[in-house]
């Protein structure tokens, strides 16, 4: 079996991590199109209080298996050169990045379709739980729309 890729990152995904990831693809010259999705933590107002951060936890073993299944399904459905998924665990402040999905292919069209498929599958299938934390340290549990 192929080695599973690491998906989870402790804390926010930094802009420099994303820039490095793009740079690493400059040697892969069969690629003509990249497409990137970045999920950012919103400072939602809930019952008069503003979300300061989301604390992410996961059923890690199941989540990693689901990420792997989603990767395999996406590779079999779409003609991609490569695909990278990173998701935060732990605290990510409002305005910081918590999800980074990166697909690449020789031509653009398939990257749009594959990226949307991937992000929707991740939201629906992967057991990750976000605790929205307010300034007074109270919290509510986020539910995906």
């Amino acid at each position: 079996m192929k080695k599973r890729k690491t998906v989870f990152i402790e804390g926010p995904i930094t802009p420099s991590f994303i820039a490095n990831s793009i740079e690493k693809h400059q040697t892969k010259t069969t690629i003509g199109a990249h497409n990137i999705f970045l999920g950012q933590v919103r400072a939602d107002e809930i019952q008069g209080k503003i979300v300061q951060a989301i604390d992410y936890s996961a059923y890690t073993e199941m989540a990693e298996n689901k990420f792997h299944e989603i990767r395999e399904k996406t590779f079999s459905n779409y003609d991609l050169t490569c695909m990278h998924i990173y998701h935060s665990l732990g605290t990510v402040k409002a305005g910081e990045i918590c999800l980074f999905v990166f697909v690449s292919a020789p031509h653009r069209k398939v990257t749009f379709e594959a990226l949307e498929f991937l992000v929707e599958e991740i939201k629906k299938e992967v057991p990750v739980f976000g605790k929205e934390i307010f300034e007074d340290q109270t919290h509510v549990w986020k539910v995906n729309k």
Binding site: Y59, K123, P127, V128, F129, K131, V143, N144
Partner: protein, 79 residues
């Protein structure tokens, strides 16, 4: 038999722990387990969750075995 049960997110808030071992009669199914847990933790009655057996969503009639890893998962909210 004894079964390990994992709790996540708002479910772990409701039970006050992230995992525990529960004693069950052999042949118990997921439906019966759900009833036992909802009796033990009244707060679970108002929460939405799925019971997962060995990382697969279980049907209510699935017979549980001592080797199973059980988890109660609230709605997912990744990304």
């Amino acid at each position: 038999m004894e079964l390990k049960i994992l709790y996540f997110g708002m479910i772990a808030d409701a039970t006050g722990c992230k995992e525990e071992v529960i004693s069950l009669q052999p042949g118990c199914n997921t439906n019966q387990l759900e009833k036992i847990l909802k009796t033990k933790y009244q707060t679970l009655q108002n929460l939405s969750f799925k019971i997962v057996v060995d990382q697969e969503i279980a049907s209510s009639q699935s017979i549980l075995k001592a080797t199973n890893e059980i988890a109660l998962l609230p709605p997912f909210s990744g990304g």
